[in-house]
């Protein structure tokens, strides 16, 4: 029996692996978008800063000691681990475009939790992304 070369990408992904990958995309997206939400909440406390060395230097400690910022980074790390689980089970050309669902989730979370306004154009764009994601999600050819 020959051992498959692990450096070669699998040419065949089982339906089971792809199904697992699609399920893992849910926590991957929720974790990183929620991280984004916490970063935004943290930066609302810190306030805006100019992009000059002096201003960045004086604001860095405020950022580094803000618990919301740390929760935000934890969300990104969690999101990355789930994402590695996704791409170990599915082709990149299938999984990566589906990440665009993050737009839908970020817009929803910002509206729900940060009371950010929704515009019709924003909702239209998110709806179009959703249609594209469904098409990509159904695009893995079965043999």
């Amino acid at each position: 029996m020959s051992i498959p070369d692990p450096s070669r990408p699998p040419t065949f992904y089982s339906s089971r692996a792809i199904f697992q990958a699609l399920l893992l995309l849910i926590p991957a997206i929720l974790s990183s978008t929620t991280g984004q939400l916490f970063l935004k909440m943290g930066m609302s406390q810190v306030g805006d800063f100019a992009f000059t060395p002096d201003a960045i230097f004086s604001v860095l400690p405020q950022i580094a000691f803000n618990p919301l910022i740390w929760i935000g980074f934890a969300g990104f790390i969690g999101g990355t681990i789930f994402w590695l689980g996704v791409i170990s089970r599915a082709p990149l050309s299938l999984a990566y475009p589906i990440l665009a669902m993050s737009y839908f989730v970020v817009v929803l979370e910002a509206w729900l939790f940060l009371n950010e306004p929704l515009s019709w154009q924003l909702l239209l764009g998110v709806a179009v992304i959703f249609v594209g994601v469904v098409i990509v999600g159904l695009s893995e050819e079965r043999k």
């Binding site: 893992l24 990149l92 475009p97 992304i129």
Partner: protein, 125 residues
């Protein structure tokens, strides 16, 4: 001024999409893993010792650097819709370098996603 700065989007897109490609190459070597405490404890050290994963992080870092350079010169509502091209670039790179099968239906879906991202980006204009 804006015209010149938009060229910086090319390295921004190429570095971050190639980072994604390296992540995938790394995970092709490492293989699938379960999401139990024990399996994660076993796989994470292997992930952190994988050269491709680190090349991926380097790609993301350089991509972010160029992206920040773009943002400091170009309005977000112009730069962000162009960044959406990353979705095409990742799929094309996966086809070329990872020999993934990319169907017409997948390209159609990606095109629609890019259009959606452009609409979202322009809504902030």
């Amino acid at each position: 001024m804006i015209d010149n700065a938009l060229w910086l989007l090319i390295p921004a897109i190429l570095f971050s999409t190639t980072g994604e490609l390296f992540f995938k190459m790394g995970m092709n070597r490492i293989g699938g893993f379960e999401f139990s405490g024990r399996a994660l404890g076993a796989v994470l050290p292997r992930v952190l010792r994988n050269l491709f994963i680190w090349l991926g992080f380097v790609g993301f870092g350089l991509g972010a650097l160029f992206w920040l350079a773009v943002l400091s010169r170009v309005p977000l509502s112009i730069a962000y819709p162009i960044l959406a091209l990353s979705y095409f670039v990742v799929v094309i790179e996966a086809r070329l370098f990872l020999r993934e099968r990319v169907t017409w239906r997948r390209m159609l879906g990606v095109t629609i996603i890019v259009i959606g991202v452009v609409i979202v980006g322009l809504s902030e204009a």
